[in-house]
Structures are given as C-alpha cells and as structure tokens.
C-alpha cells in the first residue's frame, strides 16, 4: 500500500496529500457500497449463505490485519476462531446466555488465548513464529478433541439456541439474525479500517517493513506486535462466535488446522495487505464450497486449480490486482 502510493504518486503527477484525499473518498464509497450490497443481499440470495460469507470475511480480515499489516504469519488462527465458537455455543446452550453476551464471552476467551499464545509466539520471528502458533493451535485442537464434556468431542455442540437479542428481539428467524450479523461484520470492518489508519497501525506497518529501523526509532516493537496479535485473535474470535450462533453449532472443523489454512487461502486469493481483499477472498472460497458441493470430490480439485491459477497469474490476489491496475490502494 505504502509503496504503491510512493511510486505512483509522481507518475500520476499528484502530491501525496491529494492521493490520500482521493483514496479516502474511494474507500468511503466502497464501504457504503458494501453496506448497500448487504442491505440488498438477503432479498436476492439466501441469507444464511451471506451470513456465512460475512463470518469468514471477518475472520479473513482479522488474519489480514495480522499478516498484511503486522507482517506476522500465524498458522494458528483457527484456535481463536474455534475456541470462541465453542465458548459461545456452550454459553448460549448450557448457561442460557443471550446471544450478544454469548458472542462477547466467546470473543473474550479468544482474546485471552490470543494474549497467552501471542506473548509466547512473538518472541521468535518468521518460520519459527509460524510454527509456534501452529503448535499452540494444535494444542487447542487436542484440548477440544479430548474434552467431550465441554466441546462434545467429534460430535461438537449442536442445537445451540439463537435466543433473543438483548432479551427482546427474537433472532430465530434468518432474516432477523441477518441484520445482527451484518452489523457485527460492518463494525469489525470499520474497526479494522480504523486500526490500520491509526498511528498505531502506521507503526505496525513500519515494523512489518523494517523492524530494526522501527526499534532504532525508539518503538518497543514487541508491544506493538503483541497488541496487533491480540486484536487479530479477538476479531477472529468475534467471527467464530458469530458463526456458532448462525449455524447453531460449534464443531472440530472450526479448530482444525485446515481452518487456519483456509483463512490463509481466502486472504491470498482476495489480496494480502489490501483492505477489501479478504472479503473478496472469503466470498470466492465460500461460494465455491457452497455451489460446488454437488460436484462431490471435484470441489477440492477446483479449489486447488483456482489457487494455483491465482498464485501463478496474479499473486497480488483479486483485489490486489485491481488495485494495481487502477493504481489505487484498495
């Protein structure tokens, strides 16, 4: 993003400030566009599908915040996503919490796990960091598999009640729930946008690009890395908890390492380090899983081919390549 702005600004004959104004306007228009699309979507397509896309898009956005803007490649995002979905499902089903409290408790647990895992993992860099997050996430998976009393083992927690929002609004109906999920998604998107463009986000980007230099400028980089790690875990948890309410179930799929892989795939296909890329990536991958389900074993083949094509022909991802063509950071 930053380098697109710096290299293209002279070519376009604009000052940096003017680009920033134009970009800000463009982003605002895109945000409004997404909001309008979300309002129209349930009337033209199946709402549960859109809700699933939103949950995964939020998950991918959270991952992108960590990797695209913090430069930290974590292979263990499923731990926060999955554990939050278990806690949310458990709280809603067995403690009878209302959905907003269940989602919040799931998010809180994901945040705590993120804090512990992050504090351990950020001590190392690169491949070692990735391996530590993967190992810790596998421990979370093992925990889920071996505590049938809490997680239901491989059967998962089923028939989670959707309940009443704030004890008042019945969200058992898909349409009613849709607006809650849309609000959570838009809230998450705006929060991430704000984080990226805050002074904090700028420092994270600086650390991503050149950590020794950031240290030499007096930043305590480990603190920044830990905070961005925890933020990413919390938002992944928010997505997982919301998913548990949408599908009324929490299962091992959500904590499995392949879920961590899937979110990497979504982010890469959509565009790493772009703002809107993960949303496009989630839309593409979830649509494929959804509409190709009747193809049986071909789903995985098609998914693999698309990934290979994506990596070979446009490594920047869908939104990344659009940003490159239009010379606008998206």
């Amino acid at each position: 993003m930053a380098d697109i702005a710096s290299t293209d600004a002279p070519a376009a004959g604009l000052s940096v400030r003017e680009i920033d104004d134009g970009t800000e306007r463009l982003h605002r228009i895109l945000m409004i566009g997404i909001a309008v699309a979300l309002v129209i979507a349930p009337f033209v397509t199946y709402p549960v599908f859109v809700m699933k896309v939103m949950c995964f898009a939020l998950f991918a956005l959270a991952f992108n915040l960590l990797l695209g803007f913090g430069g930290l490649l974590s292979f263990g995002q499923a731990a926060y996503f999955g554990m939050a979905s278990y806690v949310c499902a458990y709280a809603a089903k067995f403690w009878g919490l209302s959905p907003e409290l269940a989602i919040l408790s799931g998010t809180a647990v994901a945040t705590l796990i993120g804090l512990v895992f992050g504090a351990l993992a950020i001590r190392r860099q690169g491949i070692y960091f990735a391996m530590i997050t993967l190992a810790l996430a596998q421990m979370a998976f093992f925990f889920s598999l071996q505590t049938p009393g809490f997680t239901g083992g491989e059967d998962g927690i089923q028939a989670v009640p959707r309940g009443r929002l704030f004890g008042l609004i019945d969200i058992a109906d898909d349409r009613a729930l849709y607006w809650l999920v849309a609000a959570i998604f838009m809230g998450g998107l705006l929060l991430i946008y704000r984080i990226i463009h805050s002074p904090f986000g700028q420092v994270c980007t600086a650390i991503r690009d050149n950590e020794p230099r950031a240290i030499s400028l007096g930043y305590r980089t480990n603190r920044y890395k830990l905070v961005v790690f925890v933020l990413s875990a919390a938002l992944a948890g928010l997505a997982g908890a919301t998913k548990a309410i949408v599908f009324q179930l929490a299962s091992l799929t959500d904590v499995h390492w392949s879920m961590s892989g899937e979110v990497v795939l979504m982010t890469l296909v959509g565009g790493l380090g772009t703002i809107f890329g993960p949303i496009a990536g989630a839309l593409v991958i979830v649509s494929m899983q959804n509409f190709l389900a009747s193809l049986g074993s071909w789903v995985l083949v098609v998914q693999g081919v698309i990934f290979v094509v994506c990596v070979l022909t446009f490594r920047e991802g869908i939104v990344g390549i659009i940003a490159k063509w239009s010379k606008r950071p998206l």
């Binding site: 199946y46 549960v48 599908f49 699933k52 598999l145 071996q146 049938p148 239901g152 083992g153 491989e154 059967d155 998962g156 089923q158 028939a159 898909d174 998913k243 599908f247 009324q248 179930l249 299962s251 091992l252 799929t253 959500d254 899983q289 959804n290 389900a293 009747s294 193809l295 049986g296 074993s297 789903v299 995985l300």
Partner: protein
C-alpha cells in the same frame, strides 16, 4: 320442438345410464390422479442425498449411496410412473457447518422434501436440529451416535441402519454365549473409541462377561505391537478393535504378523464395512468378526440388487448403501400412497407400512424412530474359502432385534418417554 323431443329422453337416458359408470370411473381416475400430483408441492417429490463424497467415508457410502438412490427412484418409477421424482446430491466434506448449511438451503430455498444418508455423526446431529425445526424428513444410514435416536431424537429423524449400540450388542451377546470371554479392547483415543468401549463394557457386564483390559491408542497410530502384546498377555479370548479404516488395517496386519489368530484369540471389529475388507484383503482380514445390518450375499433378492449395483459402480453395495435404497423406496411408496409430500402424512404412512424390499423385509419403525430389523454376525473368510469376488463374509448367525436393540424401556428419547406406557 316438444313433439320431437318426446322420444329422446328415453334414448338419452339409456345412453346416460350406460355412460354414467364409465364417466364416474373416469372422473374418479382423474381425481385420484390429480390427488397424487396436486398435493405434492410443485408436482415433484424432491429428495436430497448428502454424504462424504471424497473423504474417508466415501467408500462405504459416498457416490455409491447416490447410485443406490438412483436405483430406488428407477424402481419406484416402474411402480408409479405418474409421480415425478427429482434427486439432488451434495458433499458435506464431513464438516457439520457445510452439511448444516446445505441442508438448510435445501429445505428453505430448494423445496427438498426429504434428506437421506448423511453418514457422519457430527453432521447428522447438526442436520437433526434443522430438520426438526423445519418439520422436514431426514433418514440416516451409517450414523453411529446413539443420541440420534436417543437424547436428541426427533419426530422427523429416522435411523435406517445401525448405531453404536447395535454394533457392539450383537458380537458381545453372541460370542459371550459361545463362551468367548473375557474381552480386551484396543480403541482409538477419542470420543468414538471411548464411547464404543464404554457401551461394550456395560453390555459385557450385564451379560455376565468380564473385561480383561483396554488400551487407547492415539488417533492415526501406526504401531500396534505393544497393544497387541498386552492383549495377548491379558488372557482374553476376544480382542475387540474400536477404531476404523486405516488404523484397523494396520492393527490387523500386525495381528497376523504376530500370529495371534493361531493363539486362539478371536478378533472383533466393532465398526467395519465390506469395503474395508475389500481394501485390506482377506489375507489380513481373515477371521475378523463384525456385526452388519445387511450383506449383499444373503439371498437371491440381495444378490439381484447387488448385481444391478455392481453394474453401475463396479463394487458390491455396502450395508449403508443398501439402506439408502430401502429408505428412499419406502419413502417414495408412502408419498405415492398418500398422494402428498407433507411430512406428517408421509411419516404416518411410513410407520403404518412394513418395509417391503430385499434390505429389511417386514421391518417397522419403533417409537424412537429406529427401523427394527435383523442384524447379521459375520466373519471374514479365509483367502482359500473365497469362491466368488466380493463374497468376503460368512454369516455366523442372524441376530434378532431383541438381541441387537436397546430396549425402549431404557431409551433416553423424549418421544418414547413422553408416550404413556
């Protein structure tokens, strides 16, 4: 005018009299024909088959279940050509959220009337609550968890094949009565393995048997040497495996390498399908005893179906695949008989009519929505005994429902409990 008409009434009357029964017959025919189509929403019965199409469960159900569904529809169309049937299929990839989402969409947006197979406990439990909420029918074949017709039973969820209770009860009751006791368990260390062992030990205790020991190995374990030696040293007469697929194959390979069959211990697979035996080969599988709800080489009817199935798939049908055929045919017959695809109407008819096919002749549904049918205790043949391809089993004994099912009096299903006894 009046004059001319005078002679007419008599004639018309005669014609009318002779036409009347014919017209009436025609009218009745029309209305019944209309009835058969009119009450079926959209004029088409739409059924969905969802299962694992490419993963570890795809051999025993997978595309074979879809083929079985096609055969069932084909046979049904011969009986009732006027009812239109549409089949949709999907792969849930063994992920409950994907399965739940597809089934939700089928019921809500695509007017699917009934869903079949499912074949993965986690997905099945997810589908169960959706079907219950929507008041739509779902029929399971290879779903192991006893909760599906126990704690989480539903008025619209039917179990057509087996559950873990059926699978452990037959071998234990039959082998115990042959004096094969005590038992040793080698199980995979996760909920499935633990449940199977727990159920087995409870049943063994109630049959007066004894557990010589049990070991739990990590999921995906490759070396069973120490476990097998423990089993050998325990003095157990039966060694039961509560693991499946690749793990069972590795364990049985090492069983043979250790020459444990010769030492007089009987190996039992608590969960095994015909395709598992096919992929491990009789050299490895020989002597392995298991429980199955159906086997293709039972009689002429089963062989006839197996032959048609083989023509389509190049493999013999497994029990879950035969169950899909039976369930779909029974469902469609009920739809044709009632002329409706309303769940309650069709379900009442399905309950009232005994199953009439090669899979479970005369079987009926009981209060917890389990189909009550015979099971078979089978043993994998020695390689030399194999006279035809795929005829891997010899039937040791037919297990009657009384020995294979959890008595309704012990049921945890609210549908049973609510019913006055």
């Amino acid at each position: 005018m009046m004059h001319q008409d005078r002679s007419r009434p008599a004639r018309t009357g005669r014609i009318r009299a002779s036409l009347l029964p014919l017209a009436a017959a025609f009218a009745t025919l029309l209305t019944t024909a209309n009835l058969a189509v009119a009450e079926v929403a959209g004029g088409t019965v739409k059924i969905g088959v969802i299962n694992d199409q490419a993963g570890p469960l795809s051999d025993l159900a997978g595309p074979g279940s879809v083929a079985a569904a096609r055969l069932a529809i084909e046979d049904f169309q011969k009986l009732s050509p006027s009812v239109k049937v549409e089949l949709v299929t999907a792969d849930h990839q063994n992920k409950p959220d994907i399965g739940a989402q597809i089934v939700r969409r089928w019921y809500d947006a695509e007017a699917v009337d009934a869903v079949f197979d499912v074949g993965n406990s986690a997905v099945a439990l997810a589908v169960q609550s959706i079907a219950k909420e929507r008041g739509k029918l779902v029929v399971y074949s290879a779903v192991g968890t006893v909760d599906i017709t126990g704690k989480q039973c539903s008025p619209t969820g039917l179990a057509w094949l087996h559950d873990n209770y059926n699978l452990v009860s037959g071998p234990i009751r039959k082998l115990k009565s042959q004096g094969l006791d005590p038992w040793f368990f080698i199980a995979a260390d996760y909920a499935f393995g633990r449940n199977m062992v727990q159920e087995s030990q409870a049943m063994l205790a109630s049959a007066g048997g004894r557990t010589a020991g049990s070991v739990f190995h990590p999921l995906g374990n490759a070396d069973y040497g120490s476990f097998l030696l423990q089993a050998q040293a325990s003095g157990a007469k039966v060694v039961a495996f509560a693991n499946a697929g690749e793990q069972l194959v590795s364990a049985m390979k090492q069983w043979n390498e250790f020459g444990m069959g010769a030492a007089g211990q009987t190996p039992v697979a608590l969960l095994m399908f015909l395709t598992d035996v096919h992929s491990m080969g009789l050299q490895i599988a020989q002597g392995l005893t298991t429980m199955t709800a159906w086997y293709w080489d039972l009689n002429d009817d089963t062989r006839a179906f197996a032959k048609r199935f083989f023509g389509m798939r190049g493999t013999m049908p497994t029990a879950p695949q035969a169950a899909v055929y039976s369930a779909i045919l029974h469902y469609l017959k009920a739809v044709a008989a009632t002329g409706s695809d309303d769940t309650a109407t069709v379900l009442a008819k399905m309950r009232a009519t005994p199953v009439d096919d090669f899979y479970a002749p005369g079987a009926t549904l009981r209060a917890d929505n389990k189909l009550v049918h015979d099971f078979y205790l089978v043993q994998a043949k020695k390689p030399a005994e194999l006279d035809r391809p795929w005829a891997y089993y010899k039937v040791v004994e037919t297990v009657k429902p009384a020995d294979a099912y959890r008595p309704l009096s012990e049921s945890e299903c609210p549908l049973v409990v609510a019913r006055p006894k």
